[in-house]
């Protein structure tokens, strides 16, 4: 069971909002890059987010670049999971590959600051603040398997190959 606070974002949060190209020189200095996470969407996010919190977004979260640094710094600052109405393809795969859960659900009724409880196994989100329960869709089996191993690198280290 994961528990934390919701940080609400809108539609079309791009990888440039999360880790802009002007900071490309920090991509081999990840702790420094993580201080700027989501800076162009909410400059106060990095200083307010706490380990265990959730990013809650609208449609098409993570559109744009293939830069895996985007989900990586989100994970580094302790975000438990991303909840969104939809997620861009490359970002989705990158997040799962890093062991960062991405949960597709209707986020319209979750407000910024709501206290959330997520049950990954049962596929439920409990918005404690609003006494509202949501369900999220199941991941494709291959992605669930990768996520359960903690990401693609631990998965391949364990099996040596793709096991479909």
């Amino acid at each position: 069971m994961l528990r934390g606070k919701a940080f609400k974002f809108g539609d079309n949060i791009s990888t440039d909002h999360i880790t802009p190209g002007r900071l490309a020189h920090l991509r081999s200095n990840l702790p420094e890059l993580a201080k700027h996470v989501l800076e162009d969407a909410d400059p106060t996010f990095a200083s307010r987010v706490k380990a265990g919190d959730f990013i809650v977004a609208g449609n098409n979260f993570g559109l744009g670049s293939s830069r895996e640094h985007a989900p990586l710094v989100i994970k580094m600052v302790g975000v438990n999971a991303i909840l969104a109405k939809s997620v861009a393809r490359i970002f989705f795969r990158n997040a799962i590959n890093l062991g960062l859960p991405v949960l597709i659900c209707n986020t319209d009724n979750i407000d910024d600051g709501d206290e959330l409880e997520v049950d990954l196994a049962r596929g439920t989100v409990n918005d404690i603040t609003r006494a509202n329960q949501l369900t999220f869709g199941k991941l494709p089996e291959v992605m669930l398997h990768i996520l359960n191993e903690g990401g693609l690198i631990p998965y391949i280290k364990k099996y040596g190959d793709f096991k479909l």
Partner: protein, 417 residues
Amino acid sequence: MGKTLAEKILSQKSGSDARSGDIVIAQVDLVFAQDTTGPLTIRQFQACGFERLANPEKTILFLDHAAPSPNRGMSNDHILLHQFAQQTGCLIYDVGEGICHQIVAESLAKPGDVIVGADSHTVTAGALAAFATGMGSSDVAIAFGLGKTWFRVPESIKIMVSGKFPHGVEAKDFVLHLIGTIGADGATYKALEFGGDGMDNMSMSERFTIANMAVEAGAKVGLFPADRITEGYLSSQGRGDHYQPMFADRDASYEKTINFDLAALEPTVAKPHNVDNVALARELKGTKIQQVFIGTCTNGRLEDIAIVADTLKGKRRHPETRLIVAPASPQVLLTAIRAGYIHTLVEAGAIILPPGCGACLGLHQGVLGDGEFCLSTANRNFKGRMGNPEAFIYLGSPATAAATALTGEITDPREVM
């Protein structure tokens, strides 16, 4: 039931009867990373315990995003990439040797290939009927090590085009119109497959522009058939032997089909800060522009530079509008020099950058000031994209960019041609 192009290629490369929705493991014909994604790819490769590349001759590093490097951090990343290439024997294209997608198009991709790159615009090679898609560093690191990756076979949306581009209208106008029509997530997880008799009039340069921006509609891949135009292009690049015809089956199954008449299009521009936020260029007249940027994997080819040079010949850029031009590869730059285009552009007040990506993603060489407006031929206008979240980016064709450079405000190119 017949197969789409995506199903055909993935069937061939996975040795299975691949149908949309299936999960397959496919061999990769080419795998690459660039200088902003390569260092993490190397770290993930090493974290996985790999010491050797599955296919060094099919593995490439491109130093194109910071070319040449503007700072110590990027310079040190370049050292890391060179060391990795020395240790593993992979190919490396150094700074100045071109934008990865342009080099893949000119020299490497062939019909029927599966190509994965740690860069979202890897989709560009779909114009050559290659199943080419962007992935993150972890996936690419595993493809470095194993020579294969897994795919969910995408459903395909058929984009049927008819007719010819009218004077002053280009492939960029079409793809912006397409994205404006289906939305920035209109093809998420899906393949866009282009067809129709409009293909017969569409050059490879135009196809590259369109395939390049498939990802801006969320698509996994933007596939064109391999036809006589493909064959002509590969032959002109000295690799006619790379050609094989590739067409979807007539009875292939598509999620939907959308028809476009090229003759009905007008010069189109994407407004800040999303690519699907489109308007006609003429509707934006009066929008003052401080910087025009022409280049990138979308529109940095010879045909693009030729249009700009033709428009600007004997004229001068607007005094309050900077004009920056970055040819996409040494081949493009050299040919443009020989044709006199670079001479024309410099006389018109342009700044010529070396082949590279820097200005497009705000890394260097064209960072915008607070409150500035840019008209760019690139593929993205997201907030902060060109190095400043307080700036505003419009996307348009090379012809629109050239017309805008002359007048200092967004201009329908038909007004100045």
